[in-house]
């Protein structure tokens, strides 16, 4: 009788395999893919159900005598939203702010991600990563409060200006302050999405370009940037949608007069109790965001979000 025994790890794996076979028999293997995406489908399904509920709510107007939604359905809330110069202005500001924030974020994220990928020293790379991740640990609201302290009338920047004889400047509570806050919020997302795309570009490609006489700037412009395009598109899509739907930054750094559409939605849901109008605005924001994403996908492809597919 042989005393041979398989290693413990093998036996454990065999046991797990037998258990898995009991739970999900071999004959069901053709559905394994569906099983794996079932949790995601469930989440998306819940989201769709929520949107359907909001769509229904958006068709009901608020009866101010009872503060109940109307029984009959109408497009009155959409007419109100589309007929309001205020909402058009807020929509326009949201799109402009998101576009500017995305462009500036990508411009700043690219060199950071490039340095992160190409820097030779492990210590420097780790330091760059720590600096990048720190804001994630702090949270968006606290970060915005940080800017209130730094850029306020009595803040560090104005104190520094005071040292050279410049009177305190209003650096907060305006549109540039909101865009600035968004860029700071979005930068880590963009770097984290760009870094894998830049890692995939072999350093030898740049060496080849340099050996053929290209300057470093021309190498970046003609070689690295085009090859990083998938990463730029993916990062741009994510930052654009995050900026377009942001609430906290306009609320805190805008001084109340630089609302984005998310702030307008909040006002309807929570300040005037008009959930129908809030739902209509929310669905219009979803539609606008989807249209922008579709436009980018149509023009430039999905970038890294295409997961290796051609488009």
């Amino acid at each position: 009788m042989s005393s041979f025994r398989y290693p413990l790890r093998w036996r454990l794996m065999d046991a797990l395999e037998r258990a898995a076979d009991l739970l999900w028999p071999e004959r069901l293997s053709r559905f394994t893919g569906w099983l794996m995406i079932a949790p995601a489908l469930l989440l998306v399904g819940l989201l769709v159900l929520g949107l359907a509920e909001m769509a229904d709510g958006s068709l009901r107007t608020l009866d101010r005598a009872t503060f109940l939604p109307s029984e009959e359905l109408s497009l009155a809330n959409y007419e109100t939203a589309l007929g309001s110069a205020t909402y058009w202005r807020v929509f326009g500001r949201s799109i402009l702010g998101a576009t500017l924030a995305t462009a500036l974020t990508l411009a700043l994220a690219f060199p950071y991600a490039y340095a992160l990928v190409r820097v030779p020293g492990a210590v420097t790379r780790k330091a760059l990563l720590v600096v990048l991740f720190l804001p994630f640990f702090i949270g968006q609201v606290v970060r915005a409060y940080g800017w209130l302290i730094i850029l306020g009338n009595g803040g560090m920047v104005n104190e520094a200006l005071g040292l050279v004889g410049i009177a305190p400047q209003r650096l907060l509570f305006n549109f540039p302050a909101v865009v600035f806050g968004l860029v700071q919020y979005l930068l880590p997302f963009a770097v984290l999405m760009l870094a894998p795309a830049l890692t995939a570009i072999p350093a030898e490609t740049e060496t080849a370009a340099r050996s053929l006489g290209a300057s470093w700037v021309r190498t970046i412009w003609h070689v690295v940037l085009p090859m990083a395009r998938p990463g730029l598109i993916g990062a741009g899509l994510v930052t654009m949608t995050l900026a377009l739907t942001d609430f906290a930054t306009p609320a805190m750094l805008g001084g109340g007069s630089q609302d984005f559409i998310a702030n307008a939605i909040y006002d309807q849901f929570f300040r005037t109790a008009d959930q129908g109008l809030g739902s209509a605005l929310a669905l219009m924001l979803v539609a606008a965001g989807s249209a922008i994403v579709a436009l980018v996908l149509g023009l430039f492809g999905a970038g890294t979000l295409a997961m290796g597919a051609r488009r």
């Binding site: 101010r64 005598a65 009338n153 007069s257 006002d267 005037t272």
Partner: protein, 365 residues
């Protein structure tokens, strides 16, 4: 509809003060023959900071001491708890809170929606002034617990000759970018109506004078925020003038900010907050929630609670905090109300969305 507080209303409250003494304690007040089972805790929605501290000291802690029921304060914003309570009522669920400390305007919306319990049977209501009764509603779906004034708060160092006399001061060029209002304009619409040359009797029919005045204020690039923002802005030197609740200005002053407040000649908005109970609570919890509100309108609870807030209560005979004696934001006598503007909650509820939209239209331009 405009309400100026009357001498008769105040006297009626005074006459009832005697009976209040008999009903002043929780233990001495029984709505049922036998006390129902006590819940482990009552959840009271409240505003944070000095607001909740005052409630805790004046009402919650003494209530816990008297009954043994713990009180947990839920600091969810009043506007944000509202849809949650409404959804719970619509779905037949137990509401997320036992008692809502709310603005009367917001509470009136909930009352109109039918999600508030009737509080008419609270014994201590007999000893309250007219102010405790919500205007335009049947019974007591809400019990108003105090009044407050949206004053003109200012930095005294920029007014060496004395407090500003008119809301027109907001339009002075030297204050460009250094004034603040609530971000929905609350508290400012009615004084703006007068400052703009209009009449209070025209509210809500014709508020064009208010919008014209607010449009001029917009040119001054005001900051727009919520209660905590005003204190922070004064502290950080961002603003010199603000239309805010006197409690916030007083809190900033307590924190060492050089700040004062006044009621300008055009008047200031006077409004009320209250307590109410959402429908859907188990019977025993409803009973004890009512006991909490009943206790909140006793003179002893009001005295401590409202000392903390610096606001006038709804039972007669309260002593104003020393720093607020003869303060225009702490009205106690009928003549104190001459410059205070009170518009019924019903009118406010019916028109608030339109006023809010109009204010936004001007300010987001």
């Amino acid at each position: 509809m405009i309400h100026r507080l009357t001498r008769r209303g105040l006297l009626r409250g005074t006459a009832a003060a005697g009976s209040a003494a008999l009903l002043g304690s929780v233990a001495g007040t029984r709505l049922w023959a036998q006390e129902p089972e006590k819940p482990a805790e009552l959840i009271v929605r409240a505003w944070g900071g000095s607001w909740v501290e005052a409630l805790k000291a004046g009402v919650s802690d003494p209530f816990t001491k008297a009954t043994g029921i713990a009180v947990r304060h839920d600091l969810t914003e009043d506007n944000e708890i509202q849809p949650k309570v409404w959804a719970a009522a619509a779905q037949g669920r137990v509401p997320p809170i036992h008692i809502n400390w709310d603005t009367t305007t917001n509470a009136t919306k909930s009352a109109l929606r039918g999600v508030t319990e009737d509080l008419s049977g609270l014994p201590n209501l007999a000893a309250t002034t007219d102010l405790a009764k919500p205007v335009g509603l049947d019974g007591y779906p809400i019990v108003n617990t105090y009044g407050y004034v949206y004053v003109l708060a200012y930095r005294p160092e920029v007014f060496p000759d004395g407090p500003p006399k008119s809301w027109d001061v907001l339009l002075e060029p030297r204050f460009k970018g250094r004034i603040a209002l609530y971000n929905d304009g609350i508290g400012f619409h009615f004084p703006a109506q007068v400052a703009g040359g209009g009449s209070l009797e025209d509210i809500p029919g014709n508020m064009q004078p208010a919008w014209d005045f607010i449009a001029k204020v917009k040119e001054q690039q005001p900051l727009l925020g919520e209660d905590p923002d005003f204190t922070a802005w004064f502290q950080n030197g961002e603003i010199d003038l603000a239309c805010t609740i006197s409690t916030n200005a007083r809190e900033a002053k307590k924190n060492g900010v050089d700040i004062a407040w006044t009621v300008p000649e055009e008047g200031c908005k006077f409004d009320t907050d209250g307590l109410w109970i959402p429908k859907g609570l188990p019977e025993n919890e409803l009973y004890w929630a009512k006991q909490y509100i009943n206790f909140a309108i006793t003179p002893e609870a009001q005295q401590v609670w409202l000392d903390g807030l610096g606001l006038p209560g709804v039972v007669p005979g309260l002593t104003p905090p020393a720093d607020l004696a003869n303060d225009p934001s702490y009205p106690t006598k009928p003549e104190d109300f001459e410059h205070l503007i009170r518009i019924s909650a019903q009118v406010q509820v019916e028109n608030e969305s339109d006023w809010f939209a109009k204010f936004k239209e001007i300010m987001q331009g």
